[in-house]
């Protein structure tokens, strides 16, 4: 692998004016606007391993941070491993991912989160931060040992029963209170279970015609309404995962105006796809929360643009073929997302003019790093003295999505066969080019 000392010529940080950037031993050491160049290369290290790359006017952003990834290990290594998921993340431009706790065994003890953390260290392609379960076994009944996970080597700060909702109000209240002791955050999967028994897709016009059991928007919105009020009452902070409805956006907007400490996430697929996709009964479009209506998609895009929604999280949910290649009702929920997230954000938000590239950095890197309590090392400004966790993006490239060409161990991408804009050219983890020229670097 190439060294972590190099110069990127002619790149555009946040999509603005082109600069030359020098990185020395993984730290940004010089930034020179191209227009001011006088022909001399500046002070370049005399290191033999120092290298240079023409950035071709591509866009340079802080490496992305995904607060919402399912790496499946331990337990479902047939779907994904920490290593294969790390590869997918690096190819997607991520330098840090948060691995959800719904593994087998569940990441509800210091032992399991340390195992996941160590697997991430060994893979060494992105920073892997385990998310701890809120409750023992994700059962929603008894708080897991949140303090032990916080104090482990994994230093867990984000806790979630994702895949399940912490539906019991008093358990949710206690969790929100308890994590204040170590500046933790509860990331809620908002789904009132009694309203979604057997639910298969968004409840509405399409579900009524298809005869698939409906998943009402209110099942999500009622939990979010309750949780923001709980967070206000106990003075804690709440992160709402994968917001999918207009009503949810409006409740969160109201809560923020009221001063409640709430942040919210939207997934790329909820920005791009609607419940009309279910008409072919292809379970590749089956996901939790379900794809909603075009009106919901509009509200999500507006919410992300105006800051009501803070982050884009992938909810990367790999599944083996047999869990998707079956009848809709029997198929697993979820879609892969790490290797398509940026492109979907470009298509749905940047190209329509809803987000600038600086906004992309905010929603995909800076804010998720802050919510994940890792902003001392990720989501940093592109500035001298900062760690070179960076992603270089070719915004004009078009690519056809082919799951067989992806690094994730699973193939359940809903964007298969579609052309999407934007391509990750290189990903730098503390200066090391883990992805170079669009492919994973060979490990030395």
């Amino acid at each position: 692998m190439r060294s972590n000392s190099f110069r990127l010529a002619n790149v555009r940080p946040y999509g603005v004016e082109p600069v030359d950037i020098t990185v020395t031993n993984g730290v940004i050491s010089n930034i020179t606007p191209v227009s001011q160049e006088t022909g001399h290369p500046g002070e370049l290290p005399s290191d033999d391993e120092f290298w240079e790359l023409d950035g071709k006017d591509h866009i340079l952003l802080p490496g992305f941070v995904d607060l919402h990834t399912h790496l499946r290990e331990p337990g479902r290594e047939d779907a994904e491993t920490v290593l294969s998921g790390s590869k997918a993340a690096a190819l997607g431009g991520y330098t840090a991912v948060f691995a959800m706790a719904n593994t087998n065994p569940v990441a509800d003890t210091a032992g399991v989160v340390e195992q996941v953390w160590r697997l991430g260290q060994n893979a060494a392609l992105v920073d892997v931060h385990p998310v701890g379960a809120v409750t023992v076994g994700l059962r929603g009944e008894q708080l897991a040992e949140l303090g032990a996970m916080a104090n482990s080597r994994a230093k867990v700060r984000v806790f979630s029963d994702d895949g399940h909702c912490v539906s019991d109000s008093v358990v949710m209240r206690r969790a929100l209170e308890y994590v204040k002791a170590f500046d933790g955050v509860i990331a809620q999967h908002a789904q009132e279970p009694s309203l979604t028994v057997g639910a298969q897709m968004n409840e509405g016009v399409v579900s009524s015609e298809l005869g698939l059991a409906g998943w009402p928007a209110v099942a999500e919105e009622s939990i979010i309404a309750r949780d923001v009020l709980l967070a206000e009452h106990v003075g804690s902070c709440l992160h709402v995962l994968h917001v999918s409805t207009r009503g949810s956006v409006e409740i969160i907007r109201w809560a923020k105006q009221r001063g409640i400490n709430v942040t919210a996430e939207v997934t790329p697929h909820h920005l791009a796809l609607t419940d009309e996709s279910a008409r072919g009964y292809n379970p590749i479009f089956k996901v939790n929360p379900p794809l909603r209506t075009a009106d919901d998609v509009r509200a999500l895009r507006e919410g992300l643009a105006d800051g009501t929604i803070d982050t884009v999280g992938t909810d990367h949910a790999p599944h083996p073929v047999e869990d998707k290649d079956c009848e809709w009702a029997y198929a697993a929920f979820g879609m892969t997302g790490l290797e398509t997230a940026l492109s979907v954000v470009v298509k749905t938000m940047v190209e329509p003019g809803l987000l600038t590239w600086a906004d992309v950095a905010r929603v995909m890197s800076v804010t998720p790093a802050r919510i994940g309590r890792i902003s001392h090392e990720q989501g940093r400004p592109i500035a001298v003295g900062e760690p070179a966790n960076l992603v270089l993006v070719d915004p004009d490239a078009k690519r056809m999505i082919d799951p067989r060409a992806q690094a994730t161990a699973s193939s359940n991408t809903p964007f298969v066969g579609t052309e999407l804009p934007g391509k990750v050219v290189a990903t730098f983890l503390r200066g090391t080019p883990v992805v170079f020229d669009g492919v994973l670097s060979a490990t030395s």
């Binding site: 009524s208 409906g214 072919g280 290649d325 809709w328 009702a329």
Partner: protein, 327 residues
């Protein structure tokens, strides 16, 4: 027509063609020798993942009367219960050389997937349609049961338009469909077919048994059976209501069976409100005393038994149109 999956994708011309062909088939069934040589050498597979003796026997009879070879494959459960998956079953059937697959499944969309997923060719997921095998949906979850709607339409046309009504639809007829619309593939199939054939449909149900979104369907919605009957419908179709929808628990949609019968059951008094020419349909099996009284079920206006006979003719027509003339 390559498959018969949903009445929503059936054109008026195709629907009337099936009804007219069914009339010809029914005429042959009056003869002493009922068997026709039309589908000799063809193989029809009845693939039933859900118990339904009535529907399976109807399809089996239809195929045999057309001289097709019939293979019955019954598999309880599903890939969910880790039995053989629909996909593997489909591959097996294809290897045996099926010309048509009649599929019944508890999973909405199963027939559509069988037709369009590429499973029958062993190709990759959603690769390509199979060129040869015709899929007949014999009921998929709470989605569609097109031959049921076609036999209902055939029965209505015979009684309300005329026995020799070839080429005609059901234009202007008023049809009330009463009961558990939410869980009914029969209701969904009928709404779209009757609309295509020009009938005026009213769905009558308690609000808990009408799906959210039904307000966009091509039908009127009503919570009031008596008001609907007062408008003198030409046909009343009573849907089966399962007893587990009643009473306590989170799976309940209704307070009690008695209340349902009082508000939505077709009893003697309501039967008397029907116009003299009006007919009573039920897809079966009936819950006598719940959604339909014995007086209504056994009245001269009831065509419920005839529906069963017409089912064979309609399924013969569907098999014939899908398989004959195709080489």
């Amino acid at each position: 027509m390559q498959h018969l999956l949903s009445t929503a994708e059936l054109s008026r011309a195709d629907a009337i063609d099936i009804l007219d062909t069914a009339a010809q088939m029914a005429a042959t069934q009056e003869r002493e020798i009922k068997k026709l040589p039309t589908l000799r050498g063809r193989t029809v597979v009845n693939l039933f993942f859900e118990d339904s003796t009535r529907t399976r026997i109807s399809f089996e009879t239809a195929a045999k009367r057309l001289s097709a070879d019939v293979i019955n494959f019954s598999a309880k459960g599903s890939s969910a219960s880790k039995g053989e998956s629909l996909k593997d079953t489909a591959l097996t059937l294809n290897a045996m050389g099926a010309d048509a697959v009649v599929v019944r499944s508890a999973a909405s969309g199963a027939a559509h997937q069988l037709a369009h997923s590429g499973w029958l060719t062993g190709s990759s997921f959603y690769g390509s349609d199979h060129p040869g095998v015709a899929i007949l949906n014999a009921g998929d979850g709470t989605h569609q049961h097109p031959t049921q709607a076609l036999l209902d339409a055939y029965t209505m046309r015979r009684h309300l338009v005329g026995p020799d009504a070839l080429g005609q639809g059901l234009d202007g007829l008023k049809v009330a469909i009463v009961g558990d619309v939410l869980h009914s593939r029969v209701a969904r199939s009928n709404v779209w077919l009757l609309k295509t054939l020009g009938a005026d449909v009213t769905l009558v149900a308690p609000p808990t048994l009408l799906p959210v979104g039904a307000e966009t369907w091509p039908a009127k919605l009503s919570y009031d059976l008596d008001a609907t009957l007062a408008a003198k419908p030409d046909a009343v179709m009573m849907l089966r209501v399962q007893r587990e929808r009643m009473g306590g628990g989170s799976s309940a949609f209704l307070p009690s069976a008695q209340e349902y019968t009082r508000l939505y059951g077709l009893d003697r008094k309501r039967l008397e409100v029907l116009p003299k020419h009006g007919i009573v349909l039920h897809p079966g099996p009936m819950n006598r005393g719940l959604e339909i009284s014995a007086e209504a079920a056994d009245s001269p206006q009831s065509v419920i038994v005839e529906q069963v006979a017409n089912g064979v003719a309609v399924r013969m027509a569907a098999l014939y149109l899908l398989l004959a003339g195709k080489e």
